[in-house]
């Protein structure tokens, strides 16, 4: 039986958190934007190696432009987190450093990966220049629409949690 790990996916609204999870869990995508409220929980077993696997319980949290308003109860018992921003909307990453400080304060010692989503909407070279200009550090640039780097990001988190 695989070990169970609680993952929270958070970030501003409309950045594609639900789409990322849907792409990872059921390899599907919908262009229609449906606002998530509260929390949706899904589960997926992730194979880390031929002999090891982890059971991800993924909490898709309601997006908010004020990260400190996230309900603390949702974060209880979290093992790992993905903080997602939308590369096509600077308002979702302009205050990334401050947002991450709040996240870290709420969940000390929990590994957080930073994901820039919707790279299909921008020119990657220009995006990288823009992020550099804004001094934005990120772990992965993904596209829930095309599936680019989505599995890689979740697997990376799985590996970190399995150490």
């Amino acid at each position: 039986m695989s070990k169970s790990k609680k993952i929270v996916v958070l970030g501003h609204f409309g950045v594609g958190k639900t789409s990322l999870i849907r792409r990872f869990v059921s390899n599907s995508f919908s262009d229609k934007y449906l606002v998530s409220i509260g929390v949706h929980i899904t589960k997926k077993v992730v194979e880390i190696s031929p002999t090891e696997s982890l059971s991800f319980v993924i909490w898709d949290l309601e997006g908010t432009d004020e990260i400190d308003t996230i309900r603390d109860a949702y974060l209880l018992g979290t093992h790992g987190a993905l903080f997602v921003f939308d590369v096509s909307r600077p308002s979702t990453f302009q205050n990334l450093k401050e947002d991450l400080k709040i996240v870290t304060a709420k969940m000390p010692k929990v590994p957080v990966l930073i994901i820039g989503n919707k790279i299909d909407l921008v020119v990657e070279k220009e995006l990288k220049e823009l992020l550099k200009e804004h001094n934005i550090d990120y772990n992965f640039l993904t596209s829930a629409k095309t599936g680019s780097t989505v599995d890689t990001a979740f697997l990376e988190l799985a590996k970190e949690l399995n150490v």
Binding site: F13, G14, V39, T42, V57, L76, G77, S88, R89
Partner: protein, 511 residues
């Protein structure tokens, strides 16, 4: 159980589900409501959400609430609040179904978030468009600037060529060249105007001017133009139009000539008229209406707004010559002047364009405030070579412009000319020679012409610091002329220059 208790109990339990769970997560008891009735199984088997129970089961002191949790069971989704309440030996899990309430909230959140995201995207799109527009305008301005020097040479040399002995076919060709040059110059001016307006770099030159003279000039010009194409032209004034007003004469002239040219262009028979009427005078301000009316082909109602867009030309009987910028320039200039162009038109009957402008009326309208007429006698004296020769220093680095200036000035036989092409050498030249006037390009290598002018004005010898300086520039933006005058230039002539105008300007500043 009483009926009331029985019925109310049914209602309460409909939206409430209870699980009694031990500290290891085993369900001890459950009621039968909207969630599955499970006993003697781990709570995590009901939904992955309950896997969180193990993280706080031991440390739970009183209670913990999770709001708005989506629980899907038996393919049905409930949006719930889940409460874990610590009891003596167990934990009571209370699940309240708020699906209806949260669905309404979701709809509100959907509308709010979509609206915020859309506004953000519009702002981003606008920013991008603005950047593109700025780049385009800057490109057009720089490119037009580069075009001005060669165009100056072409126009001036063609004019000089026209004055030489030409045989029949050559004359025709030169006339054609002159006309083409003139059209090219007008089109370049149009493109420059619209890019200057669009980039918000246009600054009005508000001065007192004679409005009556401007109206008379338009009447004279357009009576002749209309006659050439067999159309009638009439001008009418209503009310006591003030003679002298304060405003940008050049831009008002540009607006009216654009409208009148446009009216003539699309009127094959009938008439074109200009009506100038006084709406009202209050304090020292006069509000005046200008109306240009024609009996031309008219404009369909659906196009009456878009005709003021840049490069917009309607498909009108193949009359698509020109840049298509005329009405866009009119609209932009009037906006800058605090006015707005209006149009009324009936297809096949004609069009009216009109606008109202408020002018200040200067308290003292002495004749001196209006630009002096050029001394025609002196100009003809220069042309008839009856006066002494003046010594001119030309400072210009462009070889084509040098050639043109030489030919124009030498042709008058009134000037001795020295030529240098570097701003840093001017001071040395004026110290070692005695010049009556300096004709100097602004955009010079090493030291800019206006900076040189400043150095000359600061020079401690009257024979030097009082030499008239006329600037030449292809850079006609940003109201820079004023700056050059402030730097010490007496006048500025823009490229491509008109030979007469250049000579007149030189003449005006010679002692």
């Amino acid at each position: 159980m009483s009926s009331f208790k029985k019925y109310s109990q049914e209602f309460i339990t409909k939206n409430l589900h209870f699980y009694l769970v031990d500290f290891k997560g085993l369900v001890v008891d459950s009621n039968a409501s909207f969630m599955p009735r499970v006993v003697n199984k781990n709570i995590t088997s009901i939904h992955p959400f309950f896997e969180c129970f193990s993280s706080f089961a031991d440390s739970l002191e009183k209670e913990i609430v999770f709001n708005c949790v989506h629980l899907e069971t038996n393919e049905k989704l409930f949006i719930t609040d889940v409460q874990f309440v610590r009891k003596e030996k167990e934990v009571l899990v209370v699940i309240q179904d708020f699906t209806q309430h949260y669905t309404t909230y979701q709809e509100v959140a959907q509308a709010r978030n979509e609206s915020i995201i859309n506004s953000e995207l519009i702002v981003l799109k606008n920013k991008e468009l603005q950047e593109r527009e700025e780049f385009k305008n800057s490109f057009i301005q720089n490119f037009s600037h580069e075009l001005r020097n060669p165009l100056t040479s072409i126009i001036s040399l063609t004019k000089l060529l026209a004055e030489t002995d030409l045989i029949g076919p050559q004359k025709e060709m030169i006339n054609f060249l002159l006309e083409s040059n003139s059209n090219l110059k007008l089109m370049l001016e149009d493109v420059l105007s619209i890019s200057t307006i669009a980039s918000n770099k246009l600054q009005l030159q508000e001065k007192a001017f004679n409005l009556n003279k401007l109206i008379n000039l338009l009447e004279f010009t357009y009576t002749a133009k209309a006659k050439q194409i067999g159309v009638e032209f009439s001008l009418k004034t209503i009310g006591k139009i003030p003679e002298i007003v304060e405003g940008d004469r050049l831009r008002l002239f540009q607006v009216l000539t654009n409208l009148l040219d446009n009216a003539l262009k699309f009127t094959e028979e009938g008439s074109v008229s200009l009506l100038v009427s006084l709406n009202q005078t209050r304090a020292n301000k006069a509000n005046i209406r200008f109306l240009v009316e024609d009996t031309g082909i008219g404009i369909p109602e659906k196009d009456q707004e878009s005709i003021f867009e840049s490069f917009k030309q309607l498909n009108n009987c193949g009359k698509t010559d020109g840049t298509g910028l005329g009405l866009a320039i009119v609209s932009g200039l009037l906006q800058k002047m605090g006015s707005k162009i209006k149009v009324e038109s009936v297809v096949g009957k004609g069009t009216k364009f009109f606008f109202d402008i408020t002018f200040k009326i200067p308290l003292k309208t002495k004749k001196t405030v209006v630009s002096k007429n050029i001394d025609k006698e002196l100009l003809s004296a220069i042309k008839s070579k009856n006066i002494k020769r003046f010594k001119l220093l030309i400072v210009e680095d462009d070889e084509q412009v040098q050639t043109v200036l030489f030919k124009v000035l030498i042709n008058t036989d009134c000037f001795y000319i020295d030529l240098i092409n570097d701003g840093s050498k001017v001071l040395q030249e004026v110290v070692n020679n005695s010049y009556d006037l300096i004709l100097m390009d602004v955009n010079l290598p090493n030291v800019l012409g206006n900076h040189v002018a400043r150095l000359i004005r600061d020079f401690p010898m009257d024979s030097i610091n009082k030499i008239p300086i006329i600037g030449l520039t292809a850079n006609v933006f940003n109201n820079q002329e004023k700056g050059y005058i402030k730097d010490g230039m007496n006048a500025v002539v823009s490229k491509p220059f008109d030979t007469e105008n250049l000579l007149e300007t030189i003449l005006r500043h010679l002692k």
